[in-house]
């Protein structure tokens, strides 16, 4: 059942993607790459949420790492200090991230544009500082150790291929959920808010509520990613949840395309690839330090904004669109001629 003219999920894309996920560990077997791919999945979840926020609610978040960290620390503290089962701490982690986003969104709802962006930045810094300073709960900068691994039906989900599948299973869920949102009535409402908030409001769309919902959802996705991250590592520390991390997530969304769920995914993979490449080069050429990574990320952001302002994925898809429009226009032009003849 197809509805022409309405943006819809390309399910064939989802299928191919799922197959690619399954095939990857069969093709690439080195554990280093499996781990990198697992991290890519964790970041992709954050990026997809951030992409929804930026592309559909039209709001930049300079502190997304805060929710990532909150998710990770919530589950870590619950499972270590209180001995909870990790599966129980998952909904709590989601709830805490979501709730904090709700409170933040509600109190900051009078802010707009740059003021709101700065508020997200401030929030990110506050959370990071608290993670470092509340040593009693978070163990501070030295890190929180002893985070238990996940187990399902009595079997531990080890690092490596099993965890890879766990993470990418969640990525798939997040992807499908996001695609559904975007292609539904809610998604249209969000896109309309992005294009013209004033007109959207005059159509009866409660713009404030929608923006809030996306903000909370993006925070919950980041919280989920934090949960996955915590149980993959034996320990976590606040250094993974800094302003720099927030910027990295931003770069993934900007590169892939903030108006696109697939774009966020692709952007994440590409940025990860850049990171891996720089590391590999760094081993060959010692002058390429880890700071070179920053130079590259900076360049990517600059070049994307100047040359590909909508991001990779939307730009590429619009090339296909233009090509097909040209084809249909050609058909229409050819169809006009015979009609004219019959009139005269």
């Amino acid at each position: 059942m197809k509805l022409r003219g309405v943006q819809q999920t390309k399910w064939w894309g989802v299928v191919i993607f799922s197959l690619a996920i399954l095939a990857f560990p069969l093709v690439v077997t080195q554990s280093f790459f499996i781990t990198q791919a697992t991290f890519a999945g964790i970041y992709a979840i954050i990026a997809i949420g951030l992409g929804l926020l930026m592309g559909y609610a039209g709001q930049i978040s300079l502190g997304q790492a805060a929710f990532y960290g909150i998710g990770a620390y919530t589950t870590s503290v619950l499972t270590t200090t209180l001995g909870w089962s990790p599966w129980l701490s998952l909904p709590v982690a989601l709830l805490v991230s979501g709730l904090l986003a709700f409170v933040m969104g509600y109190t900051m709802s009078r802010l707009s544009g740059y003021y709101l962006a700065m508020a997200t930045l401030a929030f990110g810094i506050i959370v990071h500082t608290l993670l470092v300073e509340w040593k009693g709960i978070t163990m501070g900068a030295s890190g929180l150790y002893g985070i238990p691994q996940l187990s399902l039906f009595g079997m531990t989900i080890n690092q490596g291929v099993p965890y890879y599948f766990l993470v990418w299973f969640f990525v798939l869920i997040v992807l499908i959920l996001s695609l559904n949102i975007v292609h539904s009535r809610a998604g249209r409402a969000l896109r309309s808010i992005h294009d013209s908030e004033i007109a959207s409001s005059s159509m009866g769309v409660n713009t404030g509520q929608y923006k809030m919902q996306v903000f909370v959802l993006s925070a919950m996705f980041a919280g989920l990613a934090g949960w996955l991250f915590a149980h993959m590592s034996y320990s976590i520390s606040p250094s993974a949840f800094t302003f720099d991390a927030s910027i990295l997530f931003l770069a993934m969304v900007v590169l892939g395309g903030s108006g696109s769920v697939w774009g966020a995914l692709i952007g994440t993979l590409l940025i990860r690839l850049v990171g891996i490449t720089v590391h590999a080069l760094g081993e060959q050429f010692p002058f390429i330090t880890s700071d070179f990574e920053h130079v590259i990320y900076g360049l990517i952001l600059i070049l994307v904004v100047i040359f590909l302002p909508r991001g990779l994925f939307p730009t590429i898809t619009s090339w296909f669109d233009t090509a097909s429009i040209k084809r249909t226009k050609k058909k229409e032009a050819l169809a006009v001629v015979p009609v004219k003849r019959s009139i005269s």
Partner: protein, 256 residues
């Protein structure tokens, strides 16, 4: 149906509207006209609750609407078009209209989840209704084109169609004919009448005198924020104050 009571709007030191009152009855096509800077768009913005009046009140079907947030006005039956075109550029024509139907449709979590299995019945209904609206406005041929690729004439029709899709009781048209050529304006006039005949009351702000004189039942004339005349098109055409406002005192001097 619509009652504007002694509405005044001040922006800092600037008085955009001063003690303006008028009514719009059901089934009418009413025109709000006046020279530039008369305060017509400001009035429109207050009726659609973009911002509230400084003094006075606005009632719609007996209920006060001037203090409501703008997204609450549409469900009451008031919708509008925008002078500076606020179409949803990244969406297709039919998607634009579907947003117009937003508040009349619902999609709960169950319907949401069943999207996994393909298009739901609800979506299909919304789609078909939107298509009907497009046909009403002769836009069905471009239904799947991105709004950003349309010509001005079609964009104005799209805004009109989108506002109509909300099934309003009162439709506010803000200079819908601005920039249109003669034949497009005639088409627009005919459409406005067609819309009225389906039971929608229409309030237009317009500069095009031909359009306004030919379709409006009643005209309200503003000049520099004050209402200077109200009446049928014939009465207004003969009204001295109106002529002076539009043409200035030169007419008087010429007569001498």
């Amino acid at each position: 149906m619509l009652q504007v009571n002694s509405v005044t709007k001040r922006f800092g030191g600037v008085i955009a509207n001063s003690d303006v009152s008028f009514t719009v009855d059901e089934g009418q096509i009413v025109g709000l006209i006046g020279p530039n800077g008369a305060g017509k768009s400001t009035m429109f913005n207050m009726i659609s609750s973009i911002f509230p009046p400084t003094e006075g009140s606005i009632l719609f079907c007996g209920a006060k609407i001037d203090k409501l947030p703008s997204y609450k006005v549409a469900p009451l039956g008031v919708s509008r078009t925008f002078q500076n075109l606020q179409v949803f550029k990244s969406m297709t024509v039919i998607e634009n209209v579907m947003v117009g139907q937003h508040m009349r449709t619902k999609q709960n979590v169950a319907g949401f989840a069943s999207m996994l299995l393909g298009i739901t019945k609800n979506e299909r209904k919304v789609y078909e209704e939107a298509m009907e609206v497009l046909q009403f406005f002769h836009l069905e041929s471009v239904f799947d084109q991105k709004a950003s690729s349309l010509s001005l004439g079609k964009l104005r029709l799209l805004e009109f169609a989108r506002a109509y899709a909300t099934r309003p009781k009162l439709l506010l048209l803000d200079e819908i004919a601005a920039g249109l050529n003669h034949s497009e304006t005639s088409e627009m006039s005919a459409l406005i009448k067609k819309v009225r005949d389906t039971g929608v009351t229409v309030l237009v702000v317009e500069h095009d005198m031909d359009l306004v004189m030919s379709i409006c039942d009643k005209l309200i004339v503003l000049d520099q924020g004050i209402k200077i005349a109200e009446g049928t098109p014939r009465e207004i055409q003969a009204d001295e104050a109106v002529i002076t406002a539009y043409l200035g005192a030169e007419v008087e001097e010429e007569a001498i």
